[in-house]
C-alpha cells in the first residue's frame, strides 16, 4: 500500500470514528447494553459456579468474555448502518469519482470500526477489573485480549460491510443484528460446552464459531495462556475476516462497476 493510500485510509477511518462519536446513541448503546446483559447474567447465573466441573468460582470473570464479543457486534452493526447510509445517500458514488482506490474505501471503513470496538473493549476491561476480575494471563493477557478483540471486530466488521455493500440498505444491515444475536445466544456464552446437558444444544454450540471467540477471550480471563483455545479463537476470527473481506471486496467491485 502506498503512502497516499495510507493517508486516504486514515482519513476514511477517522471519518467513520468521528461520525460514530457524534451520535450519542451509537456510542452509549454499545457500551451500556453489553454491560447490562453482563450484570444480569453475572448476577442471575452465579449459582452455576456450584455445578461440579465449573471452571471458576467467579461467574463475573466467566461472563466477562461475552461483552467483548457482543460489543464488537453492536459496534459493527451501528457503523455499517452508517456505511449503508453513505451508499443510500450517494456519498460512496461521489467518493468513487475521486482518485481514492476502491480497496481503500473498505480498509478505511474497517479501520474505523475496529478502532471503535477496541475503545469499547478497554471500557469493558476496566469495568471487569473494577468488579474484581483479575486476568489469569496477567498484563500480557490484557494486551492479547485487545489484539483478539481487534480480530473479532474485524471479522464482524467485514461481514457487516459486505451486507452494507451488497444491499446498500440501512434496514438490511440492521436486520443482521438479530442474526448475530442468535449466534451469540446459541453459543457457550452462559455455560461451558462440556456442561451443556442437551445434546442438540451442545452440538449447535460446538459448530457455532462464536463459541470459539468467547472461549478464547474467556481463557485469557479465567485460565491463563491456554494456547490451544486462544489459537482457535484467533483462527476462527481470521477465517471469518477472510471470508467477510472477500465477500465485501467482491460486493464493492460490483457496486463500483454499477456507479
Amino acid at each position: 500500500m502506498t503512502a497516499t493510500a495510507l493517508v486516504q485510509t486514515a482519513a476514511l477511518g477517522k471519518r467513520a470514528v468521528v461520525r460514530t462519536g457524534r451520535q450519542p446513541a451509537n456510542v452509549i448503546f454499545p457500551l451500556i447494553f453489553p454491560m447490562l446483559l453482563f450484570a444480569v447474567n453475572a448476577g442471575g447465573l452465579k449459582a452455576e459456579t456450584r455445578l461440579p466441573g465449573f471452571p471458576t468460582d467467579s461467574f463475573v470473570a466467566f461472563a466477562l468474555a461475552v461483552p467483548f464479543v457482543q460489543g464488537a457486534l453492536l459496534a459493527t452493526i451501528n457503523a455499517n448502518v452508517e456505511f449503508a447510509r453513505d451508499i443510500q445517500t450517494g456519498f460512496l458514488n461521489r467518493l468513487a469519482l475521486t482518485p481514492v482506490r476502491g480497496i481503500v474505501l473498505l480498509f478505511g471503513q474497517l479501520g474505523g470500526l475496529v478502532t471503535i470496538a477496541v475503545v469499547q473493549a478497554v471500557f469493558y476491561l476496566a469495568v471487569g477489573l473494577a468488579f474484581g476480575v483479575r486476568l489469569q494471563s496477567g498484563i500480557g493477557g490484557a494486551a492479547m485480549l485487545l489484539l483478539l478483540e481487534t480480530c473479532i471486530a474485524l471479522a464482524f466488521a467485514s461481514l457487516g460491510s459486505w451486507a452494507a455493500l451488497r444491499t446498500g440498505s440501512t434496514e438490511a444491515v440492521q436486520g443482521l443484528f438479530p442474526v448475530f444475536f442468535v449466534f451469540l445466544f446459541l453459543s457457550s456464552m452462559n455455560i461451558p460446552r462440556n456442561l451443556i446437558e442437551a445434546d442438540w444444544f451442545r452440538w449447535v454450540a460446538t459448530v457455532n464459531p462464536v463459541s470459539y471467540l468467547i472461549e478464547a477471550v474467556r481463557a485469557l480471563v479465567i485460565t491463563g495462556w491456554d494456547w490451544q483455545t486462544i489459537g482457535l479463537g484467533f483462527a476462527v476470527a481470521a477465517a471469518l475476516s477472510a471470508v467477510g473481506f472477500a465477500l465485501a471486496t467482491h460486493a464493492l467491485w460490483n457496486r463500483l462497476e454499477r456507479t
Binding site: 447490562l36 452465579k46 449459582a47 446459541l186 442438540w200
Partner: protein, 256 residues
C-alpha cells in the same frame, strides 16, 4: 362510546393487517420469544442440578413462564414502536383529525397488541408442549397464568403508548424497550429467587415482575403462590400506565 369502538375497530384492523401481512413485523415477534426459549432451555437445563433448585415440573416449564411473560410485555412494546412510526409518517395526525373519539385510538392499539400477543402465545405454547414441557397445574391454574400474561401485555402496551404519544419519534424505541427489558431481566430469570445471591437478589426482591414470575411459575407447577400479590401488581401497573397513556394522548393532541 360507539364512536370510540368504531375508531378502535378501524385502528386495530389496520395494525393487525400490517402485522399479519408484513413478515418484517410478524417474524421477529414470533421468533424472539422462541429463540429465548430455545437458548435458555437448551443451554441452561443443567442448572437444575444446582443444590437448592427444586422446581417440580422441570426447567422447560420454569423458563416457559418467563418467555410467556416476556412475549406479553414485548408485544406491547412493539405496538408502541408502531405508534411512533405512525407519528413519523404523519398517519397519526390524519387519524386524530378524522377520529370522532380519540380514546378509540388508544383502545384500538391496545386491542391489536392483545391479538398480536395471543398469536405469539399460541406458537410459544405449542413449541413448549412439543418440547415435552411438563404442566403440573390444572385448567384454572393455566387460566390464571395466561390472564396474568394478558394483564402484563396490557400494562406494557399502555406504557409504550404513553412514551410514543409523548415523544412521537421512532428514536424513542430504547425508552420504551429498555425499562421493560431491565424489569424483566432483573427478576429471577434463570433460577428461583432463593438461589440468587448478592445485589441481584436485593433488586429481584423489590422488582414487581418477580411476583408475576413466581405466581406464573406457581400456576404452571400446580402450587400457586403470590397469586393475590401478582394480580394486584398487574392491576396497579395497568391503572398507572392507563393514566400515563391517556395523558400522553392529550399531549399529542395539544402538540397538533
Amino acid at each position: 362510546m360507539t364512536d370510540a369502538i368504531s375508531v378502535a375497530r378501524g385502528v386495530s384492523w389496520r395494525v393487525l393487517h400490517t402485522f399479519f401481512t408484513n413478515k418484517a413485523f410478524l417474524l421477529p415477534s414470533v421468533a424472539f420469544p422462541l429463540f429465548f426459549f430455545t437458548a435458555f432451555v437448551g443451554g441452561l437445563s443443567r442448572i437444575t442440578q444446582v443444590p437448592g433448585f427444586d422446581f417440580p415440573t422441570g426447567y422447560t416449564s420454569f423458563q416457559f413462564v418467563f418467555v410467556l411473560l416476556q412475549s406479553a410485555a414485548f408485544a406491547g412494546v412493539f405496538t408502541g414502536f408502531g405508534i411512533a412510526r405512525d407519528f413519523e409518517s404523519g398517519f397519526m395526525r390524519r387519524l386524530m383529525l378524522a377520529a370522532p373519539n380519540r380514546r378509540g385510538i388508544l383502545l384500538g392499539y391496545v386491542v391489536s397488541a392483545l391479538v398480536r400477543w395471543a398469536t405469539v402465545a399460541v406458537v410459544v405454547t405449542i413449541v413448549a408442549l412439543l418440547a415435552q414441557m411438563k404442566v403440573g397445574g390444572g385448567g384454572v391454574d393455566l387460566f390464571g397464568l395466561y390472564t396474568l400474561a394478558l394483564l402484563l401485555n396490557l400494562a406494557g402496551t399502555l406504557w409504550a403508548t404513553g412514551v410514543a404519544m409523548r415523544l412521537r419519534t421512532q428514536q424513542a424505541a430504547p425508552v420504551m424497550q429498555m425499562p421493560v427489558f431491565l424489569l424483566l431481566f432483573f427478576a429471577p430469570v434463570y433460577v428461583p429467587l432463593n438461589l440468587l445471591q448478592g445485589w441481584i437478589h436485593g433488586v429481584a426482591s423489590v422488582n414487581p415482575i418477580t411476583a408475576l414470575l413466581e405466581a406464573g411459575r406457581g400456576f404452571i407447577s400446580g402450587s400457586p403462590e403470590l397469586t393475590v400479590a401478582a394480580f394486584a401488581i398487574a392491576a396497579g401497573l395497568i391503572v398507572g400506565f392507563a393514566a400515563w397513556a391517556v395523558r400522553g394522548l392529550r399531549r399529542a393532541e395539544a402538540a397538533g
